[in-house]
Symmetry: C2
Subunit: 137 residues, 2 copies
């Protein structure tokens, strides 16, 4: 396990295998990019850049290269004039879908639970300021 020790070098003494994936997903903008490729299908650089609003070309390029290196994204270069570059998820990239969905499901449930807990408190006590939510355990 890791994510940001001194140097993100290889060899982690008591490492955890999923670390690599988390490192990948954790990179800035990464989830945005994968999400857009998932929901809007293969698309060109500019299109992607427009959708992932706010990202710089530099950043987008860097992320796509990294994802490509990890074999999660495929890059198709067509040497027309002007050139046309299309990015798409690889088969491997698609394998993350299930976990992503699982994560999304949990997130939604938590959100609902928190909302319920909050409104419950409001009904019984109506505090001035919403207190930080606390886990039951």
């Amino acid at each position: 396990m890791s994510t940001s020790p001194p140097a993100a070098k290889a060899k982690e003494s008591v490492s955890c295998p999923m670390d690599f994936i988390l490192r990948m997903l954790m990179g800035p903008w990464t989830t945005y990019i994968l999400y857009n490729l998932r929901t809007h299908g293969p698309q060109r650089f500019g299109e992607l850049k427009r959708r992932v609003s706010g990202i710089s070309a530099k950043m987008l390029t860097e992320r796509l290269r990294t994802l490509e290196g990890a074999a999660l994204v495929k890059r198709d270069y067509e040497a027309t004039i002007p050139p046309k570059v299309t990015y798409s998820l690889t088969k491997r990239g698609g394998e993350l879908d299930e976990v992503m969905d699982r994560l999304a499901e949990i997130a939604i449930r938590w959100e609902a639970e928190d909302a319920a807990k909050r409104s419950g408190r409001l009904i019984e006590k109506s505090p001035e300021k919403a207190p930080a939510l606390q886990a039951a355990e």
Copy 2:
């Protein structure tokens, strides 16, 4: 979906719910910390700091506070002399186990596939330098 737009503010126009969780897990050292709490059980600040080797007190404190705020970690303060503070996973924190395991499983499979693919190439072609691995699709 997101992870690092301009400001990690709330309100994301076309947001994705799992974003919150990813943001959390993606924080530096986070997975290390959760992993240690999972495998070594509840433990004190110093103990945790020793295990997550290389982390600074400042960072560890900040991460633990964030995790506590997200209700993934519980903080027990005992006002003895000297004070004794114990951290543990909450029930909610434990709900991530399944996804984590799933992720670990995928990571291990990929690693194996890559190793196989690499050695396969080495046998048939023996290239000087190992080429960047490429997805089938």
